[in-house]
């Protein structure tokens, strides 16, 4: 069998299987949950097989319906796409397994649609299909956020929908400009056609600005991040974890793919203002996200603001566009997804089972639930970027790349971001280990209102949650120790670009 034939299955399997839990839930919600898990196990195996084919051979491509790539719908998996597809499938499976609640059929159907959309974004080789897959994953995400009880979730989901749709539509407008300039939508053809059209032509620059701005909304770079904390804090715990780990990560992958695969580094050289603009947005994101995280009282909002800061770092790597810096950006992308996913799994479970919502509520957690507190600490250390975690490796490559490029301001920014993240993640860990037990005093929450402290004997966190967060912590350490392997994995892709 041709390995290329596996590619469309990566999208088609979860897309078609999305109807299965819907039907099964009529009989049993547990059955629907089991079937969803089964599909995701298959999806993970599929993604692993594709990664294996890509690792042992060349990137694999597939053209849907046999129509030539310039007109038809192309799919492509290089090492970057394959790694992201595996990440999407594995994280979606792990997060689903961490949730003991049996939801309705629609919930699991949407879960699979989310996976289909995200997988589509990472394997598509066509800028318009990227838009369609972005919207499939977006629609599933809006509906999943609204799956939580109460009107607050609906309001957060609506906000997310309005902002997300404007972002995706701006991206679509950028695709329109690129099409008018070149007459093609296939990424590989666009790379040469855009150069032929002239990188500094107004049409091409406008296309770049619109596409990257549109995707930045989905990545949630400052000041386009407003939807993120609300959506993550209001969503059901598992949904918040899946979106925090995958949603912005896949959008950031799309930025990387568009900047290097479509516009190419030659564009950044030809239009210095594009690079400066991206770098400025990244710097503002890093600092503003960090400061907002520092001020946040709700643990999940803190983590959401921390994502704004972390994706700013990814954008720094993209804007620098040297092999080392982009390696750093890609390692940061993967490392952040694992660490933030694990933290959200824990934070969601603590909020649901123990009613621990604010950072203050975490006080004394290490005494009551030492394992959970240790996992929070390990994952937080990766966010800060201390050795031996993957977060350290990412920042190391980024800082080296910045120094190598002579961008001292960017290098300073990477170091400053470590201090900022040390401050906000340190707050979380300090609460867990040093602060007096929350059960001994009343806690003032963000609104300045007093409420009863959570019971000291709050229900211990579900074992599934501990196992999944433990896996995330192990992954963060393993990727940290194996960071050179991860960098080597991405190296052939980067050689093709830079």
């Amino acid at each position: 069998m041709n390995p290329g034939d596996l590619l469309p299955l990566l999208v088609a399997v979860p897309l078609l299987a999305a109807a299965v839990p819907l039907a099964l839930a009529i009989w049993s919600r547990r059955l629907a949950r089991l079937a969803t898990g089964g599909v995701l196990v298959g999806q993970t195996a599929l993604a692993a097989a594709i990664a294996w084919f890509v690792a042992t051979g060349d990137p694999i491509a597939y053209v849907v319906g046999g129509i030539p790539a310039a007109f038809g719908i192309g799919l492509l998996a290089d090492r970057l796409s394959a790694a992201l597809a595996l990440l999407v499938a594995a994280v979606a499976l792990a997060v689903l397994a961490s949730d003991r609640t049996a939801h309705g059929g629609a919930y699991y159907g949407l879960w699979l649609l989310l996976v289909a959309g995200l997988s589509g974004v990472v394997v598509t080789a066509d800028v318009f299909n990227l838009y369609v897959f972005l919207e499939i994953s977006g629609l599933a995400a809006y509906a999943l956020v609204a799956a939580a009880r109460g009107p607050g979730a609906a309001l957060a989901a609506l906000k997310y929908l309005l902002v997300g749709t404007v972002g995706a539509t701006l991206y679509l407008l950028g695709v329109g400009y690129a099409y008018v300039a070149t007459g093609t939508l296939a990424m590989a053809d666009l790379a040469t056609a855009l150069a032929a059209a002239g990188h500094d032509s107004t049409l091409v620059v406008a296309a770049f600005a619109l596409m990257v701005t549109g995707l930045s909304v989905k990545v949630a770079l400052f000041p386009l991040h407003g939807w993120k904390p609300d959506a993550y804090a209001a969503a059901p715990p598992a949904v918040a974890a899946a979106l925090a780990a995958l949603g912005s990560t896949v959008a950031a992958y799309a930025v990387v793919r568009i900047v290097f695969g479509v516009f190419t580094p030659a564009f950044l050289d030809a239009v210095p203002v594009a690079r400066t603009g991206l770098l400025a947005a990244a710097a503002v994101s890093v600092v503003a996200g960090g400061l907002l995280a520092l001020r946040a009282t709700d643990a999940r909002r803190l983590l959401a603001y921390s994502s704004v800061s972390q994706f700013g770092l990814v954008a720094v790597g993209v804007a620098l566009a040297t092999p080392l810096a982009v390696t750093g950006a890609l390692v940061a992308l993967v490392g952040h997804a694992v660490a933030k996913g694990g933290l959200f799994v824990v934070a969601g479970a603590l909020a649901r089972d123990g009613d621990l919502r604010t950072v203050g509520d975490y006080a004394g957690l290490a005494r009551r639930q030492p394992v959970v507190a240790a996992l929070v600490a390990v994952l937080a250390v990766s966010l800060v970027g201390l050795p031996p975690t993957v977060g350290f490796a990412a920042k190391w490559y980024l800082a080296l790349g910045a120094v190598e490029a002579g961008a001292w301001a960017a290098a300073g920014l990477v170091v400053a971001s470590t201090l900022l993240s040390l401050a906000y993640a340190g707050r979380l860990v300090e609460r867990c280990y040093v602060a007096p037990d929350a059960s001994e005093r009343a806690v003032a929450t963000d609104g300045g209102r007093e409420r009863a402290a959570p019971a000291a004997d709050a229900a211990p966190v579900d074992t599934r949650v501990v196992v999944v967060a433990g896996l995330a912590a192990v992954a963060v350490l393993a990727l940290g120790f194996g960071s050179t392997a991860l960098a080597d994995w991405f190296a052939p892709v980067l050689e093709g670009w830079l």
């Binding site: 309001l155 957060a156 679509l172």
Partner: protein, 141 residues
């Protein structure tokens, strides 16, 4: 100098810019949630118009193989058919969410919902004002 004879080629561009601007303005400025969705739709329609304009050619016909050419470019039209489907789905999800909000708060105005939620948070001092699914009795509109 503006070529009035060729107005057919640039007028749609003016329309596209106007629709995008009006749509975004309504989306940002209006407090009524349904009108926000209307604004979103106008914004998207403007961008659809831009794509269709790019497919235009003088004397072009509908691209049917049974008809003689020259044809207008069919590709942008196909893309926009897809984008329209996406737009309809987004509108559907958005309206479903608004129905839920109306059930809970009895209003479509975002500012009123914001005030109600703030008041709710003050009253019961609950950690998350989001967790009650109860229908509000008073209609402030």
């Amino acid at each position: 100098m503006i070529d009035l004879v060729g107005a057919a080629t640039w007028l749609p561009h003016v329309g596209y810019v106007l629709l995008v601007a009006i749509g975004l303005f309504v989306l940002v400025n209006d407090e009524n949630l349904v009108k926000k969705i209307v604004g979103l739709n106008i914004f998207q329609t403007g961008i659809f118009l831009f794509f269709i304009t790019s497919a235009y050619r003088t004397g072009g016909r509908a691209p049917l193989v049974s008809e003689p050419g020259p044809y207008v470019n069919p590709l942008p039209q196909v893309l926009i058919l897809t984008a329209i489907v996406v737009g309809v789905s987004v509108t559907g999800v958005a309206l479903a969410l608004i129905v839920r909000l109306y059930d809970a708060y009895g209003t479509l105005r975002e500012d009123v919902i914001r005030d109600l939620r703030a008041a709710e948070a003050r009253e019961d001092g609950a950690p998350t004002p989001a967790t009650d699914g109860g229908v509000r009795e008073e209609d402030p509109a």
